[in-house]
């Protein structure tokens, strides 16, 4: 038995508590936060190495045998996502001191930040459905606090909507777990999966599956449940937006991926075909939303929605190529969304406004920032050498293998719209005549740039070094297509 699997949850939890005790000594807190996040990244990288060598780690907490206690399952998918989470967290922790006001930083920003990381890592690693609900609440509570941090008028207004929609979907999650418990009599995911195969009444299970999809779809912002997402995501500080955009919706997608490859695989003709329809509408509406506005932060926030659509499309098509594509895209999108939110945050800070109509000619003052934005727009849209390309290529390949031509065409067209929405920012914000009213602030620009360069390095690496990562992603997707491996590793029959 190995206790390694619990470390990505325990390290941020302890550091969050420690930093709450010394929250006034802001210089010390900043240094400690960087050290703890770095440590957490190193530990999760080591766990990833260990999982690759020796297979997935199953930790039975408290020594209780697996269907009876809570299990933590660090399989390759979960641990890869934990590593990505920590990469994003490291970039955000370096970006935060410049971006936040001193008052916001002193008021427990780092504590809530670490609680958010705790919740996200916990949600990735848990092997128990009710425990997943608890970790969802941990990360949501931290996100409620982060979204109102500062207490501006707009922030308060939007956070009420955010809290309400999440509270409602959490209560629905609890109800769904109650229904599932009454059918299969357990909340352990592996045992649920085993018993779902044995139950005769598949109708009630499909109903429960769709209810769970509704819950996770609300968290992940799928069509028609995405309406709450764009505005609350742009009102907090850019670093908080980056954390939200990179991590929160992806936890919802991960849950759908886990639940619909492990538990509810009894009627894919209904459930998974339904996902393809949802994916199509998510792609269209998200891309149109991104084109509909002149607020640069809102453009990036709307771009979360089609990205989620691509992943749900991969889950819907449900063959090896498409699942690999969805996982590749998931990892790529966590990194690039964080980078984009940090970039538009920096642009809005340096230009003094987030209204695209008032920004022009920034390339004269900030050439590096401009080219970084250009690069990340290419990464997001999926231009060949970068990471977005390989994910999309695999998704399209999987789609064509299964003969889903309509969704493939929609995906290609929405990629064009995504590229257009970001190029609009580049062309209108960076090109044009020099705007002399802007006070050049090289030092701020530099401290904003470093975390973005760090994130984009991983994005480019993920694209250029695809041969390095692809075997791992492929083994994850073939692992997901055979849920027996997961069930056996947890239940050990």
């Amino acid at each position: 038995m190995s206790n390694l699997a619990v470390l990505p949850i325990v390290i941020p939890l302890i550091s969050g508590i420690l930093l709450a005790l010394i929250h006034k000594k802001i210089h010390l807190v900043r240094i400690l936060a960087k050290i703890f996040t770095g440590l957490n990244l190193i530990v999760s990288l080591y766990i990833m190495y260990d999982v690759q060598q020796n297979g997935s780690i199953v930790l039975e907490s408290g020594g209780w045998n697996s269907p009876f206690g809570i299990v933590l399952v660090a399989d390759l998918l979960a641990i890869v996502l934990v590593v990505t989470t920590n990469i994003v967290a490291l970039a955000c922790v370096f970006y935060a001191p410049k971006s936040l006001s001193k008052q916001q930083e002193e008021f427990y920003f780092y504590t809530f930040f670490f609680m958010l990381i705790t919740g996200v890592s916990g949600a990735f690693l848990t092997g128990d459905l009710f425990n997943l609900f608890v970790f969802f609440e941990v990360l949501l509570m931290a996100s409620y606090a982060l979204i109102v941090l500062g207490g501006g008028k707009v922030q308060l207004r939007e956070s009420i909507k955010y809290v309400l929609i999440n509270l409602f979907s959490s209560m629905l999650f609890v109800t769904t777990i109650a229904f599932l418990y009454s059918v299969v009599g357990t909340v352990n995911m592996a045992q649920i999966a085993e018993r779902v195969q044995e139950v005769d009444q598949k109708g009630i299970l499909t109903t429960i599956a769709i209810m769970l999809f509704f819950v996770f779809g609300t968290k992940a912002a799928l069509f028609p449940l995405y309406y709450w997402l764009p505005k609350p995501y742009i009102v907090p500080n850019p670093v908080v937006s980056a954390l939200f955009g990179a991590l929160l919706t992806k936890v919802g997608i991960y849950s759908i991926l886990r639940v619909f490859t492990l538990i509810f695989v009894h009627d894919p003709a209904f459930t998974h075909n339904f996902f393809i329809w949802i994916a199509g509408f998510t792609l269209i509406f998200g891309a149109v939303g991104a084109l509909s506005t002149n607020n640069i932060k809102l453009v990036v926030a709307y771009n979360i929605i089609p990205a989620v659509g691509f992943m749900i499309m991969g889950i819907g098509i449900y063959n090896e190529a498409a699942l690999s594509g969805a996982i590749y895209y998931l990892i790529h999108d966590m990194i690039i969304k964080a980078a984009l939110f940090l970039l538009v945050g920096a642009i809005a800070y340096l230009a003094g406004t987030s209204d695209l109509r008032k920004i022009r000619g920034l390339i004269h003052q900030y050439p590096l920032l401009g080219w970084l934005f250009f690069l990340s727009a290419f990464v997001l849209a999926g231009i060949p050498p970068f990471s977005g390309f390989i994910g999309k290529l695999l998704l399209l390949q999987g789609g064509l293998e299964s003969g889903e031509v309509v969704i493939v065409i929609i995906a290609l067209l929405s990629s064009l719209l995504i590229l257009l929405s970001l190029m609009r920012i580049f062309v209108r914000g960076f090109w044009g005549e020099k705007d002399d009213s802007i006070q050049v602030n090289k030092k701020a620009a530099q401290s904003f740039t470093i975390p973005v360069v760090f994130l984009l390095f991983f994005s480019v690496l993920l694209g250029v070094g695809a041969e390095l990562f692809y075997p791992m992603i492929e083994s994850i997707s073939s692992y997901l297509l055979n849920p027996e491996i997961y069930i056996e590793s947890v239940l050990k029959e």
Partner: protein, 112 residues
């Protein structure tokens, strides 16, 4: 008994959702509280009601009621308690800052 409890939970959900769709902020908070009551009642009902003694180990009792849903409810209660108290404070601050507790007036499109 399970049928009566299910109907009651359903009624709680109905009233809760009706209140969520109102304009007054406080009514919405009451709606969320009612929905969480409904959800907790559902967990209790779905774990089958009253099959034996309370789950405390005592000599000579062989039939106990299911302890797991009770633990789940207890967890869920404290979580929804925490979220509700946060929501109440948030609603208070938001109505102070924005000078209204009407959800229709809490809209806006600045910066667009």
């Amino acid at each position: 008994m399970e049928i009566i409890m299910s109907i009651l939970a359903g009624i709680l959900f109905t009233i809760g959702i009706y209140n969520l769709l109102q304009k007054q902020l406080l009514r919405i908070v009451i709606g969320t509280a009612l929905i969480s009551h409904g959800a907790h009642l559902f967990i209790l009902t779905m774990g089958k009601l009253k099959r034996g003694a309370p789950p405390i180990l005592e000599y000579g009792i062989s039939e106990y009621s299911d302890p797991l849903p009770q633990a789940l409810i207890l967890t869920s209660i404290v979580i929804s308690f925490g979220v509700t108290s946060l929501l109440l404070v948030l609603a208070y601050r938001a109505s102070k800052e924005n000078n209204t507790d009407n959800m229709d007036q809490l809209r806006g499109n600045e910066n667009e």
